[in-house]
Symmetry: C2
Subunit: 341 residues, 2 copies
């Protein structure tokens, strides 16, 4: 297995992607990790991070020209910088030089680059990005798909997200029969907008290798009753950002309270709780969960949060490897074919 | 001032609405509080809550027939139960028997009842529900409008939500020049769906008594850079539920950690932190913020969360009273007139 890491993607590049490469190479000694980025930047970063012993033999550098800035407009950036690290990663997928790619860079550029450079899987109308949320489910995770690849969906897109998301839940999260919910603004059948009403009908008509649970609400993403929630990319992206915002604000406020307690002399206990909070932050940090897979394209693409550290990116590599091993794309193609009208 | 409280609305009715009536009557001795609900249910609840001294003179009971269940389909419920507490409250607004109403009952029924029973303010195309979130703004609050009155919006609806929301921010939250953001999936001008792009243009064309800050993301609701965020009701409702879900899940997890610490013998400190958490929960509990005003109708309607306790409902009464005093509806009408094309 060969996995490409975008060495120049993310707020903490190249240091953290390079750390991720070292961690991934150690975790998976039989895999080859391709570090994609300008050699002049990546080589010294790798040497520094690897220390005296040098980088392990299963890391290879792949040279690229520059990188796409985090807030660049994706389509024009891809046009202007065909040799940047993101399109080079996509090119490796296309040529078979890599089985999967992981990037913490400009999400729009990763999605657009994949759309231009790869093909959709047979039967797939539009790819979707699945965010993996911590949840009270048995697997401890709930997928929200789509969180931004497709801002304006048709019912068939949402239905296909249900098929793709449940393939991920089955193969990667180990849920035997995933429960799929359709995001709406009330659980009753009559509620929601036109898209929800038509999508609900489509799920009922076509079915699939999952249990369709009808309409769910935003809070159900965390509640444990569903493994996959489907929604339009505009809504999913807003939800992702709100969840991050609430979680950060709350944890910051609590941290301030704990620091006050510690300053007030309650040293021991406050410190114990500080450690507990840190664990909690990791558990609820969506960046830690292993990246968000872009589902529906020929090639395995994992998108990481821009703030991802080395461990988060390494988790995404592990998750991407698992997708390749489990042949998720073949399973998605079969499932769509079996339940096409 | 006369304010109607739906005595039978919410998961904790009639006990909590009745407590809210007592608290409101005490807070505002010059106002009349109308408790609307079946006399046979409300009278004994009021007597029990008021204790030996009896209810104060500025509480009046208004009889109704039954109540609309929390999950009933609003339109058919209103048709079948024209004498239920929600339509009776709306009727009081319509007849001038009350200046404002507050309900923790079926939100859909409150909205539909208001739409049928009241008129839209001159110039208003569609009313919107504004949720009041805790935020890092100077006022400590950020409005998200609409959170469910209008699932399928046109650009003019979102523009008008900006006008109405900024009137609320100015008159009720005391923000001199409210900053209004348009919810999108990236701050760049080109991002978002078609609705966002057209709405952005409309804000730029018409302007208003606010500062339009362009596109914002979900996390900006809590970030302090904007006082009002406008979005389609479907998206806003999903966001509201997600924010509740994340906040509850996190606080529950932290509470469990604290309890473990207390059980482990770290009594004093754990208890202090438990109290701190309780304060935090109140601060971040959207139910506490004083209810969500339905803006754009002739009459002042405050919608409370179904789980609201007496204090939360009383806060909504105070907020409703302030809207009446500040003549928010006249100000909204003027603002829309001044910036109509």
């Amino acid at each position: 297995m060969r996995i490409a890491i975008d060495a120049l993607g993310g707020d903490l590049a190249p240091a953290e992607p390079v750390k991720a490469a070292l961690e991934s190479a150690a975790r998976h000694p039989d895999y080859t990790v391709l570090l994609v980025g300008e050699r002049a930047t990546v080589e010294p970063a790798l040497a520094a991070a690897a220390g005296g012993g040098g980088a392990p033999g299963n890391i290879e550098l792949v040279d690229s020209e520059g990188f796409i800035a985090m807030h660049a407009e994706p389509v024009s950036a891809l046009r202007k910088q065909p040799g940047a690290s993101i399109p080079v990663c996509v090119g490796l997928l296309k040529s078979g030089g890599a089985d999967a790619m992981v990037s913490a860079g400009n999400t729009g550029a990763v999605v657009a680059g994949s759309m231009f450079g790869l093909n959709r899987l047979p039967g797939v109308r539009r790819p979707g990005i699945a965010a993996v949320f911590p949840a009270l489910t048995e697997a401890g995770r709930c997928l929200l798909i789509d969180v931004g690849a497709n801002v304006s969906c048709k019912p068939v897109n949402l239905y296909q997200y249900g098929v793709m998301g449940s393939a991920f839940a089955r193969l990667i999260l180990g849920v035997a029969t995933p429960k799929v919910g359709l995001l709406s603004i009330g659980e009753e059948e009559g509620k929601g907008n036109l898209l929800v009403k038509e999508t609900r009908r489509l799920f009922a008509e076509r079915g699939g290798a999952f249990e369709f649970r009808g309409n769910v609400e935003g809070r159900d993403i965390f509640g444990g009753d569903v493994d996959v929630v489907v929604c339009e990319g505009f809504v999913g992206n807003a939800i992702l950002k709100v969840a991050e915002g609430v979680s950060e604000t709350l944890l910051r406020t609590i941290k301030a309270e704990v620091q006050q307690m510690v300053a007030g002399g309650d040293g021991g206990d406050g410190q114990a709780l500080g450690a507990a909070l840190k664990r909690l932050k990791q558990k609820t940090d969506y960046a830690e969960a292993g990246g968000a897979p872009l589902l529906g394209m020929t090639g395995h693409v994992q998108i990481c949060h821009g703030r991802s550290d080395g461990r988060a990116i390494a988790n995404a590599v592990t998750s991407a490897a698992r997708m390749v091993e489990q042949k998720i794309n073949e399973r998605i193609t079969e499932a769509l074919h079996a339940h096409a009208t």
